[in-house]
């Protein structure tokens, strides 16, 4: 009797469910409709951004041969990082483009500090180019 009792209970539940469903279907009643999805309007958190004014690059020379270029350490991560890189670059120029004269300078101040005296020196020496570094 103990084994049969659960089976009987399950059977009663299933039959009841079938009966209710069948009755509803026969009576033509509709199942409850889902509620319409609510649409909401919110403010936009984004803020319009303005691009910077464009400025062109300086014209390039055809060649660096016979000319001077400056290598300027900007003090990112301490000056030695750039000076060590420039040491290797100078060596590369000596081996591969010996006609290029290189000058290494340390910019004054932290990496974001301007150094007009140095820019003026580069201009007055009529340098053909400048290598700024090193970030990272």
């Amino acid at each position: 009797m103990k084994k049969i009792f659960p089976l009987v209970c399950c059977l009663i539940v299933l039959v009841s469910f079938w009966a209710v469903t069948y009755t509803v279907a026969l009576s033509g009643q509709k199942m409850p409709e889902s509620r319409p999805v609510e649409m909401i309007t919110v403010l936009n958190p984004a803020v319009a951004n303005r691009m910077a004014d464009r400025s062109p690059l300086a014209p390039r020379p055809d060649t660096l041969d016979g000319k001077t270029i400056y290598m300027i350490a900007v003090n990112w991560g301490g000056p030695q990082a750039a000076l060590n890189v420039f040491e290797e670059m100078q060596s590369w120029f000596e081996r591969n483009m010996p006609g290029v004269q290189t000058v290494v300078r340390l910019k004054k101040g932290g990496y974001d500090v301007d150094d007009p005296d140095l820019w003026k020196e580069i201009s007055e020496r009529k340098a053909a180019g400048a290598i700024l570094g090193v970030s990272g």
Binding site: E38, M39, I40, T41, V42, L43, N44, P45, A46, V47, A48, N49, R50, M51, A52, D53, R54, S55, P56, L57, A58, P59, R60, P61, T63, L64, I69, N75, W76, G77, G78, P79, A81, N84, V85, E87, E88, M89, S91, W92, N96, L106, K108, G109, G110, Y111, D115, W119, K120, I122, S123, A127, A128, G129, I131, L132, G133, V134, S135, G136
Partner: protein, 446 residues
């Protein structure tokens, strides 16, 4: 670096090439070019990191390939200085008009809007309260300022983004703020965005004055933990403002290597002014404000070292602070000590520090480290070494000392701030390297 290159190109007509690690080149030629510099600087990339590498590795870098272009580094350098300009590199003049942002977003379901806010990078990835017109109008009741007033034009990192009172209110609603918090949030808005550096810095937000009690801020037990609505929500709003008006996007405009979990709430708390020992002024009073002024102060830093256990009579708090502060960078002589009221009482009554200033002076005189340890920090080297080269003391002298010489790196006691906070359930403290900025008067934003 792009700014210096632009100066050389534009003002002096000098062809210039920037040398940077690959991670910087993407930012410099992308966002920085479009929104900050406007000059299409040519770059050659090196592998990262550059600083700290032995000479043999740097030689390989220079003789190797540019990781961005795939070409030999020195070929990229020479080409950058000699190749004729493209049409795009000759453009001069104002940029195209900024694409306007509509005030309202198209109507949508709450679920889809929550996804949209996350996809746009406007949130901290916790759910937000959606800023309906009704809720934002309610937030604006918290101030007398007009919605279209610009609190700050945010131009870091690059661009120019007007953070209006209404946009701040939108963020305040999103974070779950109450209208009465809004003046604090507007005062905070003047400091947006938070610290943004590859070095993974964070912010600290400190509130002083009667407003602490009015808003129900926590300055007692667990003040620095997630146990108070005002502390939690005000701190969160700074992050949301930094991501919306501040424009911070991971790997686009913010390049912190590790990032900082402190940026979720920005260490927002209030000082326990009621428990200050006699003679110990609240931070805002030390800055020159009146005790009745309401002030928010934002600091920027990286690290906090805890005393862990309580103060011991045999080795009092100032001694352990001295020891632990040796581990801080001492950049700009900056530190902020957060201490439980019981520690402040002991320092005053058992050890004779009659004011916060006297403790700062003692620490300034007694924290010591070697010159090599001081200069061994790259941020210190970037900033202080440059000052040394300009002849500024004490950096000039420190630079000339032998590596094992001992210096007092917190040379300016005014850089050492002391804040009392906590619930008197343990005599503990944190020594942090946070550098507190100037206080902002909250009352101006009521």
């Amino acid at each position: 670096m792009s700014r210096h290159a632009k100066t050389l190109e534009q003002q002096y007509g000098i062809p210039t090439v920037g040398i940077a690690a690959a991670n910087i080149v993407g930012y410099a030629t992308g966002y920085d070019f479009l929104y900050t510099n406007g000059c299409p600087i040519r770059y050659a990339a090196l592998p990262f990191p550059v600083a700290g590498q032995p000479q043999s590795v740097l030689k390989q870098y220079i003789e190797g390939k540019d990781p961005v272009s795939g070409k030999p580094v020195m070929l990229v350098v020479v080409d950058a200085l000699t190749k004729p300009l493209t049409d795009g590199e000759k453009i001069k003049g104002p940029p195209p008009e900024a694409i306007p942002e509509p005030r309202l977003l198209p109507p949508d379901t709450e679920e889809r809007l929550q996804h949209l806010f996350k996809d746009k990078g406007w949130t901290d990835y916790y759910p937000v309260v959606l800023p309906t017109e009704e809720k934002v109008a309610g937030m604006l009741e918290g101030t007398s300022h007009y919605p279209d007033e610009v609190v700050k034009t945010v131009n870091w990192p690059g661009g120019a983004r007007p953070l209006t009172v209404e946009k701040a209110a939108v963020c305040a609603v999103m974070s779950g703020a109450k209208p009465e918090y809004f003046p604090v949030i507007l005062a905070l808005a003047t400091t947006v965005p938070f610290g943004n550096s590859t070095t993974s810095m964070a912010n600290m937000i400190l509130v002083n004055g009667p407003v602490r009690r009015e808003l129900g801020m926590n300055f007692g037990g667990n003040a620095l933990g997630p146990y108070n609505e005002a502390n939690a929500v005000i701190g969160r709003t700074l992050t949301l403002m930094s991501k919306t008006a501040g424009g911070l996007r991971n790997r686009e405009t913010t390049w912190s290597s590790l990032g900082s979990n402190l940026q979720y709430n920005n260490l927002c708390f209030a000082e326990n002014e009621e428990e200050l020992p006699d003679g110990w002024d609240p931070l805002h009073v030390q800055m020159g404000f009146k005790p009745t002024d309401n002030v928010v102060t934002v600091g920027t830093g990286w690290s906090a070292i805890s005393s862990v256990g309580s103060v011991q009579h045999e080795y009092p708090a100032q001694m352990l602070m001295r020891d632990y502060m040796k581990s801080l960078s001492a950049l700009g002589s900056s530190a902020t000590i957060l201490m439980d009221p019981t520690v402040a009482d002991l320092l005053k009554n058992a050890h004779g520090f009659q004011t916060k200033t006297s403790l700062a002076q003692w620490l300034s005189q007694n924290v010591k480290k070697t010159v090599s340890s001081y200069w061994g920090n790259a941020v210190v080297a970037s900033i202080s070494e440059a000052l040394a080269m300009q002849g500024l003391e004490p950096y000039k002298t420190w630079k000339q000392l032998p590596a094992d010489a001992v210096i007092k790196p917190f040379n300016n006691p005014q850089g050492i701030r002391v804040v009392v906070v906590g619930g008197k359930s343990q005599s503990t403290w944190f020594a942090t390297d946070f550098r507190m900025g100037r206080g902002v008067l909250i009352d101006d934003w009521k």
